[in-house]
Symmetry: C2
Subunit: 213 residues, 2 copies
Amino acid sequence: MAKLRLDISISLDGYVAGPNPSEENPLGIGGEQLHEWALGLEAWRKPHGLEGGEVNRSTGVMEESQANLGATVMGRNMFGGEGSWDAKPWDGWWGDEPPFHMPVFVLTHHDREPLVKSGGTTFTFVTDGIESALAQAEEVAGGKDIALAGGADVAQQFLRAGLVDEMQLHVAPVLLGGGTRLLDNLEGANLEFECIRVIAAPGVTHLEYRIAK
Amino acid sequence: MAKLRLDISISLDGYVAGPNPSEENPLGIGGEQLHEWALGLEAWRKPHGLEGGEVNRSTGVMEESQANLGATVMGRNMFGGEGSWDAKPWDGWWGDEPPFHMPVFVLTHHDREPLVKSGGTTFTFVTDGIESALAQAEEVAGGKDIALAGGADVAQQFLRAGLVDEMQLHVAPVLLGGGTRLLDNLEGANLEFECIRVIAAPGVTHLEYRIAK
């Protein structure tokens, strides 16, 4: 059965974004360190249209996390960033050819026509909640898995509702000391985690959990 | 060279104790779940005077974490618990034959004569700060490593001071949703972590970090 998979980089102290995110620095202060492990990989650079890059123990993890996906769900901040959205309906962080290459469902309170981009990415804006976003994603995913891309608030909504099947944390060995934590606000969710794989790679530790409800 | 090693069980959301710790429940609500992985192990039961128990992938981790130690440093709450201390100078949580079997240095603001227990454990009370506790521990450790036993406040003091050489997190796959976080209050500590080993075992994931200053 198709799974909803949350796959996210996180600091040793549990943050998925640093403090004071802004339009210039959407990941917050220090937040770019969370993704350093990925940016040098050939497996990341290629789908982003860049040449070169490294092959290491993270390569398989990244390839796998991008494989067998039929759709992506994300929050409005991950699509477009705080602030900018209300001022002008803009096209998000992701440029003309976003790296998703699949349908993306963006949770928001603002109704908007779908945004069709090059390379197979269409952003569809969903205003009626997470279950609706997931149902729409499943409808187009053709039996493949759905990626839950974040940010933390949307991830928490799905976790609280018991809708996430797998969670992979890419733990960067840094402390951000503030910002947005992934695993907050989950009181009463009654989730059971089982670690199904750990991989130590250069600059990151990959922890994969199955979530039972 | 002798190392200062922090070895501690932690929840997936970063807590080393649950909310509302009390004399009856020093680990806070849900905190006992952090240690479930250890309590069933033969390697834990034997030094605690209990028979039976399991051998699994955590066994080597626990044996190693108990090996080559010459002294232990801990905070006053870990020795004796909040509240009880001031009311009556009591003997702590650890009974007549504590499981340490080595000199233990307890950081406190209250001067007190050393407390000699059976089985090689002597609690020495240190009122002049972490560097003094570490120096005293090193003096008796005979070149062996020092265990930094916690709790979080004392661990943070040593981390902030750049005195911790290795940190092993035993990550229990549970959310506590509140309590005491290990890796808080470390702003400006400028610590560099390098993950040197990961082991997935039943009910726990062991992450070992070397800390460079």
